[in-house]
């Protein structure tokens, strides 16, 4: 027998308890990893290629207030502007889903390449999109989800405009930060159920990064003191505005995580206390045989650490495998796409486990150190 075998035999003496405490650590860490991964994905700034050159202009009052279409030529004339397209929220629901599962925007297809440089779309698809009045292009994630393919006709019920519109899928794009949305003709919307003369927002592209601040200032100035004042900002700033709306969710997730960790500490600490308390007498005998406090502390620490490590391996490992090889996008209906278990998150969970292992060992080890051989022997006598 060696000291490690002695420690392992001790840790496994009550197999059911060992199993339960390893499982509770595993489940909690799995949950912690899940929460952290979700938090990361929710707060991840959408970094689409080309974003540094794009500007979003919306009604200064709020995002839901429209802008007059006649603003477009004024924006186009601002030096440094390369392309401008309306970007109007349609809020359509597919079939009887009862909820919006992907976003649709009405825009000017002629500007597709000029404004959205990151779109991966064949020239043939783009040509179809630009020519067909009811044509729409749709992101790959949504297309895969509903098995849409070019040539399909789909009908969406608008929650903004009265009625439904039928679209013909002209192509499927990918390569953007969010391959879920659908784009279609602003003209089609205006000529059917839309409000001609009004658009949702303007999205534009500037020629160089240096043009950005000047263009933004120029747009804001151009419509100051008009009926529809405009607030222009970089796409990145616009996205960050959305993220800050997620602030509450962030706080919520952070506090759930804290509760999970705290509960975990309580559970493991009490498990270790129990495990040690019931062999106080044995530990006193070991002391009598010449084992020092330091060695007994190592026994307890190793056991506690071992339990936490086993739980961590199981919990973090399961999360990693599940989220790396499982189809999260499908399981969450596209709410989460990458759900990446990053090394940083795994490191954080492992750190929690390690700290847990140490904290749980402290109280029992102190109790053992404080108890003399004679007092220890009296327990259970």
């Amino acid at each position: 027998m060696t000291l490690p075998t002695f420690i392992i035999k001790n840790a496994l003496r009550n197999k059911r308890r060992a199993l339960l405490s390893v499982s509770s650590v595993a489940v909690s860490l799995f949950l912690l990893v899940t929460l952290q991964v979700a938090l990361r994905e929710l707060t991840l700034p959408v970094e689409s290629p080309g974003a540094e050159l794009r500007v979003c202009a919306r009604n200064k009052v709020s995002l839901t207030n429209p802008l007059p279409a006649r603003q477009r030529p004024i924006i186009e004339r601002i030096p440094g502007v390369e392309g401008v397209t309306p970007f109007t929220w349609f809020g359509g629901q597919y079939q009887n889903e009862g909820a919006m599962t992907f976003a649709q925007f009405a825009m000017d297809p002629k500007e597709t390449r000029r404004v959205f440089t990151d779109f991966k779309l064949s020239d043939a698809e783009l040509a179809r999109f630009q020519t067909g009045k009811t044509a729409a292009i749709i992101g790959k994630i949504t297309a895969d989800k509903y098995h849409f393919k070019a040539g399909d006709h789909i009908t969406l019920n608008s929650t903004v405009y009265p009625g439904a519109l039928e679209f013909t899928i002209a192509g499927i794009f990918s390569g953007t930060a969010d391959d879920r949305m659908m784009l279609f003709h602003q003209d089609y919307l205006d000529d059917s159920i839309g409000t001609p003369g009004l658009v949702g927002m303007w999205w534009l592209k500037v020629k160089t990064a240096d043009d950005m601040p000047r263009v933004i200032a120029a747009i804001n100035q151009a419509f100051a003191n008009t009926a529809a004042e405009v607030r222009a900002e970089s796409e990145r700033a616009f996205q960050l505005g959305f993220i800050s709306m997620l602030g509450n969710i962030k706080t919520l997730i952070a506090s759930i995580s804290t509760v999970v960790v705290f509960t975990l500490v309580l559970v493991t600490a009490s498990t270790m206390s129990m495990a040690v308390r019931e062999r106080f007498r044995e530990l006193a005998i070991l002391k009598a045989l010449g084992f020092r406090r330091r060695e007994l502390f190592v026994f307890i620490l190793a056991e506690s650490f071992g339990l936490a490590a086993a739980g961590a391996l199981l919990g973090i490992g399961t999360a990693y495998v599940a989220y790396t090889f499982g189809n999260i996008s499908k399981m969450t209906h596209g709410i989460f796409v990458s759900f990446e278990v990053t090394p940083r998150i795994m490191g954080l969970a492992a750190l929690v486990a390690a700290v847990l292992g140490v904290i749980s060992a402290v109280a029992p080890a102190l109790a053992v150190a404080r108890t003399s051989v004679v007092d220890g022997l009296k327990t259970l006598d």
Partner: protein, 226 residues
Amino acid sequence: MVAETIVKIRELTKIYAQGEIQVTALDHITLDIAAGEFLALMGPSGSGKSTLLHIIAGVDRPTSGECLVQGVDVTKLNETQLADWRNQNVGFIFQTFNLIPVLTAAENVELPLLLTQLDRRQRRQQVEMALEVVGLGDRAKHLPRQLSGGQEQRVAIARALVTDPKLIVADEPTGNLDSHSAQEVLTALQSLRRDAGKTIIMVTHDPKAAAFGTRQIHLEKGELSA
């Protein structure tokens, strides 16, 4: 030949103070124990037998007085020194639950050797020998619950002698045993003294057990009586 004195106790006093009440467990005890003695320490419950034994074995400290074991004043050692000293110089046998339940007889006997420099093979040899001495060579792989009470105590004796200490202390080692098992344990202790020259201090209530010793002393309210 005059046997050397292995334990030399002078004016040893132990007072437990609990708030207002003071309990004098040992009251100025002076006692010499010669090497090779099998001393039976008797006395009524609460007379201080265990307290005395614990101080001699270096697991408790006196309030005052000296306790020299093989010339070392154990009352002056610090915790760590005392732990090492116990490992090298004393073998312990307690009344009950001596053994770690998840370890086999051999592993239990091996425990004190884990603190020594011996390698695995040397440890195994020592363990086998110790188990042979107490007549349990064939029970090495048994867990404590697979052994009788008497056999458990003999495993404890094997563990006490495996580091080859001069001094073995036993606190009522037969207190929980039937007379047959007690006989086995006492015979084993007796042969340790006779064949291996160990000094044994045994606390007991039982005059029949005490008769196995070479000398009997009595404690009465913390004082020695003839």
